[in-house]
């Protein structure tokens, strides 16, 4: 056991925060450290249940994958479960599950994450295992071939053999964005997935999977000092790497409406999605968009739901929000706000678009009243308590994102306040600046399958 080891190896403790009071809101403990090799470490104890969450986020998402290798960032995520220096194929998974834990990984625009939720007494075991695969990926040609099969089946089940498969989450960024990094098929063209080599895998690992491109977050039931000792022991000797210059992710300002339509051989009803580009992260307009999203789109009392579902009856549900693959808190580059719905073939798409346009313009024509603003803020607060206050993964996700993208995980205790600064005037200004029709991308799905229910169905 190495429990009482000193933390001498942790040379650069940037800040050790113990926030006493963050105003009216939730107060999340945040301890932030950086190892010599650049690894960011965030600890946030919560003793509600005897579980710990270990989350490792690498600052490499599908925006940054190599050209000609679409889908590679995600394929690579699968490879991280295929074997490392001391753990053979399946052994990482078995180690976590036989410890009484659950695990998963996911690939997103700006990060790839790996997380394990285990009984608290297994924290050291899991830190050792995560360090092992950060230090030394060890996979074979056979593993790669196997996971290409798995991933191509993943694309088939989620996209190719499914009505509305990539709509709008996979399709829309390809139409709304101009910069290749934001606009390519990030699940991957099957032929490009198939072309990936072991050398590609090695290169990707060496380039991006280094401690100075990652953050390790531990939340849940643990002792900080003890945890930091283990982190130091297992992670501090992993060498840093020289990171390439980050790519330019900027999107040109959109000056003209874009429209696209896509045939779907499996769909029986038309569908429509409308997207707008988000204001830059962490600006006042960004928080205003969080409020606008609530007012327009979230919940049964939202304006688009009231209009399209209840008064016009064109659909049963309007879906969407900020960041179709996450939340407004866990991305870094350009992002879209999207609303989408399915409707009957008898409806006119342009009529529905006009209704959406009118609801958006309504926010510009008339300043929102205090009650509407308060309702949106209450909903944001209610959601926030379950994110930031979660004892497991959702809190870890926020801390990892804020450490990785802003070098400031303690931001978690200032987010609520930013929303409270949003005024009706700011909302009007933001709508004017970001939600004009020239700024939108409209994507429609043309149904190519027969409508069985329309024709009577089975008896």
């Amino acid at each position: 056991m190495k429990t009482n080891q000193t933390i001498a190896g942790v040379a650069a403790i940037l800040s050790l925060l113990a926030i006493e009071d963050a105003g009216a809101g939730l107060n999340v403990p945040v301890e932030y450290h950086k190892l010599d090799n650049g690894l960011k470490v965030v600890l946030s104890p919560d003793h509600t249940t005897p579980k710990v969450t270990v989350a490792v986020y690498y600052h490499i998402g599908f925006r940054n994958e190599p050209r000609g290798r679409t889908g590679f960032a995600h394929l690579f995520e699968h490879m991280m479960f295929q074997g490392s220096g001391n753990l053979g194929k399946m052994e990482f998974i078995q180690l976590v599950e036989s410890s009484g834990g659950n695990l998963n990984g996911s690939t997103r625009f700006d990060f790839t994450n790996y997380f394990d939720i285990v009984p608290s007494h297994k924290l050291e075991t899991i830190l050792w295992a995560e360090a092992d695969r950060m230090r030394s990926l060890d996979i074979t040609e056979e593993n790669l071939v196997n996971q290409k099969g798995v991933v191509s089946n993943e694309v088939k089940v989620n996209v190719l053999n499914r009505p509305y498969g990539g709509f709008p989450w996979l399709d829309m960024p390809q139409y709304a964005n101009e910069n290749w990094h934001n606009a390519h098929n990030f699940y991957g063209e099957l032929a490009e997935l198939e072309a990936a080599t072991l050398e590609d895998v090695r290169l990707f690992f060496d380039t991006y999977y280094s401690p100075n491109n990652a953050v390790l977050v531990v939340t849940g039931d643990f002792d900080s000092k003890e945890a930091l000792g283990w982190v130091d022991e297992y992670f501090s000797s992993i060498p840093a790497s020289e990171l390439p210059e980050p790519p330019d992710l900027t999107e040109p300002i959109q000056l003209k409406e874009k429209r696209a339509s896509k045939g779907d051989p499996l769909a029986s009803k038309p569908a429509l999605a409308v997207s707008f580009h988000m204001p830059e992260r962490n600006t006042p307009a960004f928080y205003a968009m969080g409020v606008i999203d609530q007012i327009l789109l979230q919940g049964d009392a939202s304006r688009l739901t009231e209009r399209l579902v209840k008064s016009e009856g064109v659909t049963g549900h309007v879906a969407g929000g900020i960041n179709a693959l996450g939340s407004m808190y866990n991305y870094y580059g350009p992002m879209l706000w999207t609303a989408s719905l399915r409707y009957d073939r008898t409806e006119q798409t342009d009529d529905i678009l006009s209704m959406i346009e009118e609801e958006i313009e309504g926010l510009e024509d008339e300043l929102i009243d205090e009650k509407t603003l308060q309702r949106a803020l209450t909903r944001i607060r209610s959601d926030w308590y379950d994110r930031a206050g979660s004892s497991t993964f959702r809190r870890a996700d926020l801390l990892a994102s804020f450490a990785l993208f802003d070098d400031d995980p303690a931001r978690i205790n200032g987010i609520e306040e930013e929303f409270f600064k949003v005024t009706p005037e700011l909302i009007r200004k933001t709508v004017r600046e970001y939600l004009g029709t020239e700024k939108r991308t409209v994507l429609t799905i043309v149904p190519e399958a027969g409508d069985e229910a329309e024709n009577g169905g089975r008896s």
Partner: protein
């Protein structure tokens, strides 16, 4: 009043023995420390004179509270010519009460920070919400109002039917929905569980009188159980529940329509021209949750195909790469259960996948698993149980399951112990007793032209 007992610490996570190959140069993972105590949060339960029951569980450290009202009705109470009437009733519940319009309901619950969600299942209907603690009592009042005094405005019915028609149309284009529909038909036949979808004509024909009649006939206090989990004042919440459900009529006792199931080895092939994958279901009826074999069966399922480390996933996914998410599960209704393996597999590997699934079933029937493999599975299951009891909805879900199936007060407190009491021989015996592959029904939704020859060796094919 029921008190949940403490679970012995050692029962939660047994010591770990890993099936590592003995490569000498390898470093072994650190063992970790001693397992910590875990106890289920304490529940306060009470019943009212009209038969309504309530379970209150203070839990957590954020100012939120989850409220769920579970009613023992659902599609099972529909007659043959009423398919999805329960779903329409569920949708209509939030369209207005005698005191509030649908927009008022939407705004009021939004002002508490949430939504009202109504879910209609085969034998359970739930109305739930998740609000800031300061609104817990208001939320309870609102849910009671929705359940007991809906106004069922006729003007909204056409719209609700149109929404359901759209859902029906989309369901009919999904391979998984079609596979599940056929499987239910095969397993349950004429029992209400055997029919999944209505015809368009049937759905279009429902009237507001039918909606009202279904509600008055199948809803009532005796079928209702209220759950509250989170940060709230127990005493005040109990007073509120007693007040808002005081005049709720007792209504009928829960209907107990337990199906007689049987299955045979027949392959049901549903054509999906040009499909790049085949959607497979392989299923058989098993002992239900009230049976002593059920927990051993759960262990057997987890080891065979119900966890990432399980045999079928290792084989079909991690060895062969035929599928992304093959998994097995035990699906339950009230006192009824079946085991099912589900997989979406590359079309050309349809036959090979079915072969591997049967290979793994037979292997387990022939030989008990090693102690190492079993204890890994048991640790995984107890860890998952603790995790399920680490969130408001998780806790509520466990309580609802135990109450609904009538498993008794000690079911949850002794669950971990019972998982660990299962022996390796018992796992093999469960496979022998229940997983008769010669009687398993197989459903394949895929490209018939490419699939038929592959699956012919497995039995008689019907379309």
């Amino acid at each position: 009043m029921t008190r949940l007992r403490r679970i012995a610490a050692t029962a939660v996570v047994l010591s770990l023995a890993l099936p590592f190959s003995a490569r000498a140069e390898r470093e072994l993972p650190p063992e970790g420390g001693e397992p910590k105590n875990f106890s289920l949060p304490e529940a306060h339960t009470f019943s009212m004179i009209n038969g309504l029951r309530a379970t209150l569980v203070p839990f957590g450290n954020v100012p939120k509270v989850s409220v769920g009202v579970m009613v023992r009705t659902g599609n099972v109470d529909e007659k043959t010519e009423e398919i999805w009437l329960a779903d329409i009733v569920g949708d209509m519940l939030t369209e207005g009460t005698i005191r509030r319009t649908s927009s008022e309901i939407a705004r009021d619950i939004s002002d508490m920070g949430s939504e009202v969600r109504v879910r209609v299942g085969a034998d359970r209907l739930s109305i739930s919400t998740d609000v800031l603690s300061e609104y817990g009592l208001d939320a309870m009042r609102l849910l009671a109002e929705i359940l007991t005094t809906p106004s069922f405005p006729e003007g909204e019915l056409e719209r609700i039917k149109a929404d359901n028609l759209r859902s029906l149309s989309v369901a009919r284009t999904r391979a998984q929905s079609l596979a599940n529909e056929r499987l239910s038909e095969v397993l349950y036949g004429d029992h209400r569980y055997g029919t999944t979808y209505p015809t368009k004509e049937l759905l279009q024909g429902y009237t507001i009188d039918q909606v009202r009649a279904f509600h008055s006939k199948h809803f009532g206090a005796a079928r209702t159980h209220v759950y509250v989990v989170g940060d709230f004042d127990t005493k005040r919440m109990e007073m509120m529940i007693r007040a808002v459900f005081l005049s709720f009529a007792m209504g009928p006792p829960p209907s107990e329509q337990i199906p007689n199931t049987s299955s045979e080895r027949v392959l049901h092939l549903i054509d999906r021209p040009d499909a790049p994958q085949s959607t497979i279901r392989i299923a058989i009826s098993v002992a239900d949750p009230s049976h002593a074999d059920f927990i051993p069966l759960e262990v057997t399922n987890t080891l065979l195909g119900g966890s990432f480390s399980s045999r079928i996933i290792q084989n079909v996914r991690e060895d062969k790469g035929y599928s992304y998410s093959p998994y097995s599960s035990i699906r339950t209704h009230y006192h009824d259960a079946y085991w099912v393996e589900s997989a979406d597999v590359t079309t050309e590997h349809t036959g090979a996948t079915i072969g591997e699934i049967f290979f793994e079933i037979d292997r387990l029937r022939n030989e008990a698993p090693s102690e190492e493999e079993l204890s890994s599975v048991q640790s995984y299951m107890s860890g998952s149980f603790v995790l399920s009891n680490s969130s408001r909805w998780g806790i509520m879900g466990q309580l609802i399951y135990a109450d609904f199936q009538g498993l008794g007060d000690d079911f949850l407190t002794s669950y971990v112990e019972n998982i660990h009491a299962v022996s390796a021989d018992q796992v093999r015996d469960m496979a022998r007793r229940y997983l008769h592959d010669e009687n398993m029904a197989i459903v394949v939704v895929g490209d018939t032209a490419l699939v038929r020859a592959q699956i012919e060796p497995f039995g008689k094919i019907v379309n």
